[in-house]
Symmetry: D2
Subunit: 427 residues, 4 copies
């Protein structure tokens, strides 16, 4: 606990009064306890240690930038996730309306757009342009994967007079943002780098919820519905659904809770064996005549002959558990001479490309506003997080330090067991 | 024209007055013109030929069956299609409420359920049971593919005292229904066989619209939306969607009209070459930076090395145009060193398993009622069709005589050209 | 029959070859039989009368206007209806892409925008502007009610060099369009006036379906769902829904078919008495404990003390049957000391403001294209209609001659009776 | 702070081992800190006061009831709210599957069903019956308002052998549940009373989120969409929406964040004057030509001539702010001779009767499970709450002690100001 470091980097003194009309913090230090269990906190206070606390997000009384002097930039990287356009919209409108910044650039196609020689002219984000984009899925800026040279990117930021760069993306993107912040620091320039964590898997450490996750669970329901309808429409029908979740099974677990026709939920955090799964599946088919299986894409990776490959963003490319399970289950029952009807559903892009649902729209609005407040107040090398129903500042280094994962002994996984009725141990 | 035969087979005289409260036809012969163009009809009348007409569906004043004496049965075969449960519900409730039939069996798992030795006990369809099933996708009876022995099926129908068998299914199912009707005729039994044509592809001859088609077009929009969002979210993004349409491209064509972000629509009726498609695609990417391609599953079958195989229902199994196009396009641009981002979306099951939309719900209700009227009035070996906004009786032999197809010179395909802007000739 | 006049007015000779790439009619006279019953047509041909036929819509080989020389205008009037923006989009893009017209004006706020002195500058409709508007409900042009002086409007059309005016609106709007066409004819100017009939009630004569109707039925389902849920959630619950349908009950009737929880459907075409309704309602509450009542807004007008008033468009303002039924039913059961729980739902605006569903989107696209074909080919004083699954040309005078109504003896109303189970006679 | 009492009442010793397979707490005392700001907690610990903590919900190692011996009952009271059926389902299945309880009664029509002489036979809730009810809005048990005599209700509970009564309802219902628990205590009977707080307004103290709230915000979007479409479709269009929120404006505030076309958000917690509103509205119409106003039903109650009346549940009946604003705004601009087009939308029932969205479905599942765990472990006179992303036990007396309200100085209201751009002070 003592090695947690929630200290947020600052560009320098906040010399300017905020033009923000309402709700400004009178101090800079308002903090939220990171843990919420009584015993742990009492013990750390008694041992004269400060329990881990996080800086709260929000507008400050004094800000770092002279808003009349700076331009700002927004970049979106990696795969699609519901809500990106809402965040772009919220940042742009907050810069214009709350702080009077007069120029906001939207860089095209991820970090590529920050490298001048690639020749992607940035969009000037005007109010009429961004007004309706929350209704659209995807990203109006376009995206790409993979890193670019920090020095080249900072050159371009300086040339354009960027004061704050907002980077919307996942692990790889945030690591890239940290490198930009370090290059900025090396040059001693007044450029703030604020990350907005984008991971549909909701697996960023020290952050309870990321945008797009609720929409993903909402949209996943359609795949489960399909699987269940197909499974019950045939003798010994099996509906097999693969959902997102490379390293953490949060989407799969919440989908299993939201739609109780799921009979088996497989996640990366909880190992299973083929024998264990097939045994339980046979038993279910005998008893009920159909089954719905939901697998996070990272589940059972040790079972498939993992092809060690990395995609352009540096993520390990996982072998396809969905196709593996489909073929394995079909083969097994075929060898036993037991006729099944398996339908395999992989809704990935359809989920990722949806616009945010109202919950995520509101969440993205607040994320965007708080990212602007943080940037204007001179914070840098941080992401906007969410903890105990409040927005927070989290150093990038912490956010990317490890993946958040389902605790196989915790309430979430226990609730999934309680809802699906699947055997606790499928090994 | 003169060889069209719309004569509907009858079991015998209609001896009973109908208990149906309202809207009964005073005669048995009300007819609808099959063609609607002026010149064709004028010519045939002048030549003293009767132009082709169809018997209108609807309740008759006199009916064949004594409703107190018969049971009825419903069977659902083949793949899922939105609206099956609505049809089951409409038939069941019409038999109970309009005619006072007291027993309706739902056979399980397609024609298998009509063969006693398979041991699938039929469901007794009660009013509370069927009341809410229209809200569910799929079929509550379960389905299967492939034929069964007519003699065995008629044995079971006789044993159960079935007066009318309603068979909901596609081409293969209707051919099976005709064989049952022939076996019944051979035995001289008073059993009526009424088909309700189920083809999500809407490709049954002499029938303008089949149930589930509107829902399929509605649901397909989501796949197009995904494809367009992914295509515009990346440099040289290509969204490729495969939709249903083995022999006829109606779903693809109407989807292209309903969602105008489609740039290329490929259907079985209009040949194209790989060179033609790639040339037009390159041109579009140069000009606009993204493209959406929509392919019916039966499009370009001559291009893929067709594996001659038939599925259990006897349909030719088509090679997968979606995967073929995905790989061919990727390979082409990769060889040219031109970076593209192609996302392939295959929503098939998700569309098939949806419940009917309100349009199809109303349509299925009327289909079911008219099927009951036809059966009670002693019609047999026919399907309920729809022509010029009215329900009709169509002999099974006509309905399965050939596939309805898009006319490449007609208004529909011309409208698709006008909407997509794709070159008329992609060969 | 003999007095039907389907002759379409022409501005003059079609001197120019069409630039439209595909699907052009080789002649100008292709026609569709208006009636489709065999006997009627045979008789008229035998009596040497031409049975009523309609000119088919579609592109012609030769056109009237030199597309390089004209501007075109679009105006939207009256209440909102799903699909208006789709029609605007289709007309605009067809003029640009199919015919090469270079300027399309969108007049603001209905006919007001056609009167220069009101000072509403018309929008120039560009391709990027109209591209996405199909996703939006309402009308991007704004609307208003009520007529304007034809002379003033034609003055402005001449000043702006308008060749074709497209007027999207209902009865009053079409009558206004006819007056513009007459003023144009009086002046002998080459200005075509093409109406696109907009009536969510689907009650225009000689036209089977108008745009927005399918969407309205789809959206109405939500109100029925609410009514049924509230009705079953309380002892003696009654859900009362008022839907659109001033003079014709098509929306109510199709909604009753689409959603079979409706127990009583009340439409303007079928009179009922309060005593008849209350009697049947009491009987249903005794038997089933809840009831859902659906009333078209024009139902039972003779029962409410009609306030004779006309709105700005000249439509008779109807007294509110919804509030009347609510109060009458509550009063009745209260006097009887029988506790009921009535919830009244009036979803009007919510339905009218939705974007078109995919069915209507495709329909609006084709309507818009055919309106452009008609205008470019010199037709005027007509609307684009739809009959027997094909688009047609209908003179405005015919389209507004009377309201299309439900036939209380026809299949639609009989099917409603068959579905709701309500007594045939509620008088 | 020191007078907060989160002590949960117990029926007695927990003598039985839990049959619950997984996730049981090893102790009974696991606790969550109620506050989460650092300074407050540090100070209370330094002052040797225990900061307020809540007992965490979840399964216990030892339970109070012998599950083989008891029946359980569920009752639903008050207005509809999305998710009631999900809670009924979760409780029923958890009792059966997790604890082996063999009989679960569903009392009909609220507390009326607990009074035997009213003659409402309770439903026996079987597994097949509850399996699909989550797909339905409303409550399958029916509901009613108003209290009943505690003694009569406890008589019936004893007669039926009820061990745990689950009461799903709002303030009035929970007060009624407390009275039942007190009567039970007076008699010294082993009957646990567990409340599940139902308030679509999300205004129960010490509970961050109640079920149905997320669905309500999601569904409210449709009303805002309508209002905005109507407002922009006419000159000086005004869309006025009334949403739920008698005492607290949470739904209105979150809806304003989720859908950024809202220009004025009015809530009970923030007073405004007619003059202030009309001035700001005039200014907006001058500047932008349209406006969307969103009013919680309890907003501006001091402005309307409040009719002091209480409904059957004892809630103060509020005068209708929606109709008041509609008439006041219309009158004002009419007197000024300034033509506006105001459309008033009141979607109340339509929102309340929807089924839960996936977020609320998952939430209701966990609520139901935790209610069962609490009851089986002998807790009573409490509700299941949710705080800092964890389920908790809250004494009924605390939960009903006061309404949770929006803090006009807090982040939520400040974010609404930031999003709508409305003047901070409309008085």
């Amino acid at each position: 606990m003592s090695d947690l470091n929630f200290t947020i980097k600052m560009l320098g003194d906040c010399r300017f009064p905020s033009p923000m009309q309402c709700g400004r913090f009178t101090g800079e230090q308002e903090q939220l306890l990171y843990h919420s269990r009584y015993e742990e906190i009492r013990q750390s206070i008694e041992m004269d240690m400060k329990p881990p606390t996080m800086e709260l997000a929000g507008p400050r009384e004094r800000i770092f930038f002279d808003s009349a002097q700076i331009a700002c930039g927004i970049v979106t990287c990696g795969g699609l996730c519901p809500g990106i356009n809402d965040v772009i919209r919220a940042i742009t409108l907050s810069l214009y309306h709350h702080y009077g910044v007069s120029k906001v650039y939207g860089f095209r196609y991820g970090y590529e757009g920050l490298v001048k020689r690639h020749g992607h002219q940035p969009l000037e984000l005007s109010r009429p342009l961004v007004n309706w984009i929350g209704e659209l899925g995807g990203t109006i800026l376009g995206s790409s994967r993979g890193p670019q040279e920090p020095a080249e990117m900072v050159d371009y930021l300086e040339e354009l007079g960027i004061g704050i760069l907002f980077a919307i993306g996942g692990d790889g993107t945030l690591k890239g943002a940290a490198k930009i912040a370090e290059e900025v620091a090396r040059r001693g320039r007044p450029i703030s780098v604020i990350g907005i964590p984008k991971t549909i898997d909701n697996d960023i450490s020290f952050i309870q919820t990321t945008f797009g996750f609720e929409t993903a669970v909402t949209e996943a329901k359609r795949a489960i519905y399909t699987a269940h309808t197909e499974a019950t429409g045939a003798r010994n029908g099996i509906g097999l659904v693969k959902l997102m979740g490379r390293d953490s099974g949060f989407i799969a677990a919440f989908t299993a809770l939201a739609y109780s026709q799921v009979n088996f939920c497989l996640v990366p955090e909880v190992p299973f064996s083929i024998g264990g799964l097939l045994g339980a599946l046979s038993e279910r088919l005998e008893r009920r005549g159909h089954a719905v299986i939901l697998a996070a894409e990272g589940a059972g990776q040790e079972l498939v002959s993992a092809i060690e490959e990395r995609d352009a963003s540096g993520n390990v490319k996982h072998a396809d558990i969905g196709a593996f399970l489909r073929d394995t289950i079909k083969g097994h029952f075929s060898r036993k001479g037991f006729e099944i009807n398996l339908k395999y559903i992989d809704p990935s892009y359809t989920i990722r490309s949806q616009p945010a649902n109202p919950h995520d729209s509101a969440f993205c609005l607040l994320l965007g506003h708080n990212a602007v407040h943080a940037g204007m107040a001179g914070r840098t090398n941080m992401v906007v997080g969410f903890w105990n129903h409040q927005f927070t500042h989290v150093p990038i280094s912490l956010a990317v330090s490890k993946r958040k994962k389902i605790d196989p002994e915790g309430w979430l996984w226990n609730s999934v067991m309680a809802s699906t009725g699947q055997p606790r141990d499928l090994r």
